[in-house]
Amino acid sequence: MATKKPATPVVLSDKRALTFIANVQTPANAVHLFLNGKAIDMGQDGDTWSGKEPRAVGDHVDILFTVNGFDGDDWAMTVSIDCPDAAVKILSKKGTVGQPGGHGFGKTVMLAPDPCSQS
């Protein structure tokens, strides 16, 4: 007769909720930014696209950024974590459509246990 194992508490997640701030400068016709596979909705104000959304993340965040523009369009993007004192930048990158990597990139960024302590 099989013995039933005692139930052990299951840790569903060691994730914490952080608010990410995205900012993109480009004249391109479309930009998209995904954090852990989910898009951040960014509003357009001329050449500036910006958005701010919370994400449940562990010790890292997967960032995927894509640009649809014309050959020669520059872009510059930053991703920051919203902290009480000031936003902490975790990634900053530039590129040009038509050059290697100019349509975007994917990158995993490791996060400090307390990112806001760096602000």
Partner: protein, 310 residues
């Protein structure tokens, strides 16, 4: 009087540019200021070409992950100014606005490459894109037109222009953009009338004298009429590879082949043309200036186009 009107225009322009602003129509225009390319990413803009000088300002509500977009644009066209250096055509003051709403599918852009999910690092992102826009506009202008000799006060007219245009833009690659626009617009035939000057004698020459004092007013002579046009515009824009730049300036080069047609009788017409534009370094869809040549019935018209985004 003329100075006062100019000051009023300047004040209006500065009031406009103090607003948050985004214009809708691009500056890839033919000499008559028309285009089927709507890029919607520029700031408040001043566009100058041989046909007119237009200052526009607007607002665009668009989000990276939403299909729908909307915006508006208000503009003013000058009645005189430096455009007269390039063209003898009489300019009339005009003010108006456009409201646009449209669709820009998020899935057709670089986000998913058409797969419906975020791309992995190794996958190439799509260079294709497309958007569609409905443009509803109204403007009002004032001018003097008559087919008989009469005082300017009797010849003064106002024209209310209405337009409804559907636009589709398709980006085939990082170097090719196609634009198509079709709709209806209320127009007048001022382009077909003869620019003239009304002269009203204020003080007649004294007997035996030869000098009299007259008051003048620019206007048009001919049978003025208004009609409904059915414009169809196309643009095929080629952005040359970014390594091709203007030495010393870094400007990119774009070539716009276009057609401008009116398919409504009795003013059916078809123009074809080509424009060569220099565009900003790092922002290849922002022309800083260009030359546009069009053909219509054997007549060639060359226009200078310049744009400045605030």
């Amino acid at each position: 009087m003329r100075i006062a009107r100019r000051n009023y225009l300047c004040a209006f322009v500065f009031a406009l540019i103090s607003l948050p602003a985004r214009s809708q129509q691009s500056a890839f225009q033919s000499g008559d200021g028309q285009t089927s390319i709507y890029l919607g990413t520029g700031g408040a803009a001043a566009t100058f070409n041989s046909a007119d000088t237009k200052v526009s300002i607007g607002y665009l509500n668009r989000h990276s992950e939403k299909w729908r977009l909307w915006g508006y644009e208000v503009y003013a066209k000058a009645s005189s100014g430096i455009t007269t250096v390039f063209s003898s055509k009489l300019k009339i003051p005009e003010g108006g606005g456009d409201f646009i709403f449209g669709w820009h599918p998020t899935g057709s852009g670089a986000s998913t490459g058409g797969t419906g999910r975020p791309l992995k690092d190794a996958e190439p992102s799509s260079t294709k894109d497309q958007w569609a826009i409905i443009d509803v506009g109204y403007s009002r202008s004032a001018f003097y037109a008559s087919d008989v000799a009469q005082p300017p006060s009797s010849a003064k007219r106002y024209f209310d222009r209405f337009r409804l245009v559907g636009v589709w833009n398709r980006k085939f690659s990082d170097n090719v953009l196609f634009g198509f626009a079709a709709g209806a617009e209320r127009r007048n035939n001022l382009d077909d009338l003869t620019p003239i000057t009304f002269e009203t004698t204020v003080l007649s020459a004294p007997s035996g004298g030869t000098t009299s004092i007259v008051k003048t007013q620019a206007g048009f002579l001919g049978n003025y009429r208004e009609y409904i046009a059915a414009p169809i515009y196309t643009d095929l824009l080629f952005i040359l590879p970014s390594k091709i730049t203007v030495p010393g300036f870094g400007y990119h080069v774009a070539i716009d082949g276009y057609t401008r047609s009116d398919v409504a009788a009795p003013n059916r017409s078809a123009d074809g043309g080509i424009g060569v534009f220099l565009t900003k370094k790092g922002a290849v869809t922002r022309p800083v200036g260009g030359l546009s040549a069009s053909w219509n019935g054997g007549k060639v018209r060359v226009a200078f186009v310049a744009s400045y985004n605030f």
